[in-house]
Amino acid sequence: MIAEAGLAALWLAAGLAALQFVLMILALRSDFEAARAMRSIAVVQGVLTLVAFAMLLIVFARSDMSVLLVFENSSAVKPFIYKVAGAWGNHEGSMLMWVTILAVAGAFVALLAHRTSERTLLAALGAQAVLALGFYAFLLIASNPFARLWPAPPDGQGLNPLLQDPGLAFHPPTLYLGYVGLSVAFSLAVGALLTGEVDSRLARAMRPWVLGAWILLTLGITAGSYWAYYELGWGGYWFWDPVENASLMPWLAATALLHSINVLAARGALKAWTMMLAVIAFSMSMVGTFLVRSGILTSVHAFAIDPQRGTFLLALLAIYVGAAFILFAVRGASLKEGAPFELISRESGLVINNLILSVVLGVVFVGTLYPLFVEAVSGEKLSVGAPYFNAVAGPLALILAVLVGIGPLLAWRRERRQVFKRLTIPALLGITAVVITIILWPSMHILPRLGFTVAAYLAAASILPLIGRNPFRAPLATWGMVMAHFGIAVALLGMAANAAFTSERLAIAKPGDTLTVGPWLILLQDVTPTAGKNWTAVEAELRATRGSAVVTLKPQTRYFSDPPTETNESAIQTFWNGQLYTVVGKPDASGAWQLRLWWKPFVTLIWAGGALIALGGALALVGRLWRLAWRRRPDADWRRERYT
């Protein structure tokens, strides 16, 4: 019954989305009175998808094996939290989650967006309904999550153990919220292009959505990076895996959009540009979903190989992106360009930011899709990995990090002051960092050396916007920007330290043997069998000493029975100045165990930096929403917005 209720709710929601689309066309043709019902319809549609999603959670929580999806992806002996999380740890469930978020976002637009004109809002709601309609069709035709299985088997097939991790429970929802938050920017852009009302009001309505989506993407990428770091046991934090790129590409586009939208909001300039970025950002979300969900990648995350689904998603992608680009081509040229600006100005700085981010996005996009393209065309198999991405994106990222220190110091319209004078101290810090690394570590590789230099410079330069004024009277958005830019410096420092100073030891040891890694002396005390709810394991007990510090680490190799799989559970100990990372492998014939040990100085700064960037975004979002709530005057002129 529960599964059928979920399915019925989904069909109803799909029907409402279709109605919403029809009403939009009527509303755009004439001032059609009934179109005002679109707001209520959007809300009801959001509620219906929530009901459908809740029904899926219930069948998973109850381990109802008569539902095919539960049988394929769950088992009765799993811990409860993974039973529930299993609902979206598979293809159908995650697509249902996607469409739920899409419809709920539409409902919130209908409830909250008061800043755009009524016509643009209705057009945007129509666009959002069209987006949802495609995904409803996808669910109902090609991936019904509520399909039944008869007779019901006693137990399910289990869930990939690699995914039985708290990371699984929160990582995909965070990313999906980010992806789908960008759908609102897309719909608002499409709506505004349809009505021709691309102005600073639109930008201010769009901004909280972009900011919110960007925060969640930042968090999702940071958490995903840490998950890969400790769960895969390879000691790396970014693998340039296509699935990682699938989340990085929307983030890059959203970062560019976030910056250009400020120009539109504050100055009414970069209209066509910003609309283009809004379209690209959500297109990248769809590309990401396509890459992960179609199963065309050689990757841990690609679950099923099912050409029908892949084709369906690709068709949706082509239709939506194609239609948006055509609309842009037709309407984009007629947009009036806004207030002019000089070559050296805040606007120019943001344009350069956008250009560099777009180039990075372009090279990541090409590198990710090139292997698929080549294989489809010539059948030749190749892979594009870290060497490519590091070589093409690394230097650009460093240049961008240098410019991040300068842009916020520039004034809107034109800069007449001597901005570079203010950068004396940051520049000196950067030079000091070069000199110190050359004296202390003459053989250091060039990239980490540059990383330390730029990090030292940017850490100082990023806080300059708060200096020379009363920092407590600065808007929250300024604080947020400073914190996010400072976070880049922190992450960069962590990456440089990890690249320059990591020590690694790979050896075999019998209980009682001692190994050294970096400053640590590590004694293998014992290897013992142990067990959890649905796994058995061997666990090594390691005693690590450094001076007077003593810690015990217990890495494991786990064996899961359903489905039969092994995973390496690394044991990681965090200190203020780094992490000790240990993995136990397999025994050899003589009873010695393989151990892999790393000492990674300051590696945690990478994720701390990511968290700071997201927190900066959150501060800015609170500041913006505060203003929206207090100054909800539709006639507010852009000149009044005291933006810094």
Binding site: P340, V359, G362, V363, K381, V384, T567
Partner: protein, 146 residues
């Protein structure tokens, strides 16, 4: 700057960025893309020594040897047509087993494939598409042998 000129400058900047991205990507792909080879490709001389590449195939039964240091293994990868010896230093991945599929990343040195990383099949249901075809061919080969 007049608004009209400003738009022109922006369009030119966007086009330049697009071209720069394309050139950069082409340069990077030419020097850094690593091709996927099977032992048969290597036997046919398609792969060059020292170039970054991926090798895919089945780990031949009975071929895995552990070296004295305990962390280096040698094994043979086969696609049913040819064989390539592989040497790997590190902890082999969870599902690395004789008789099952593996993809190794590394380079050829004097006819031996020196692997930096080994990617194995990740669970019983999951199979990289590159190996999917291969295992079908391999199975077909086996049936023929019988």
């Amino acid at each position: 700057m007049k608004p009209k000129n400003q738009r022109l400058v922006l369009v030119v900047a966007a086009v330049v960025a697009l071209i720069a991205a394309a050139l950069l990507a082409m340069w990077g792909l030419r020097s850094q893309a690593s091709y996927f080879y099977t032992p048969a490709d290597i036997a046919a001389g398609k792969a060059h020594e020292g170039e970054a590449m991926r090798l895919g195939g089945m780990v031949e039964r009975g071929s895995v040897q552990h070296l004295r240091d305990g962390v280096t293994i040698r094994f043979v990868v086969t696609d049913g047509k040819a064989k390539t010896p592989v040497i790997f230093r590190g902890i082999a991945p969870d599902l690395f087993r004789e008789g099952s599929g593996a993809v190794a990343e590394g380079r050829l040195e004097n006819g031996t494939f020196v692997a930096d990383t080994i990617l194995a099949k990740h669970d019983e249901r999951y199979m990289p598409p590159q190996l999917g075809n291969l295992s079908a061919e391999h199975k077909a080969g086996k049936t023929l042998e019988k």
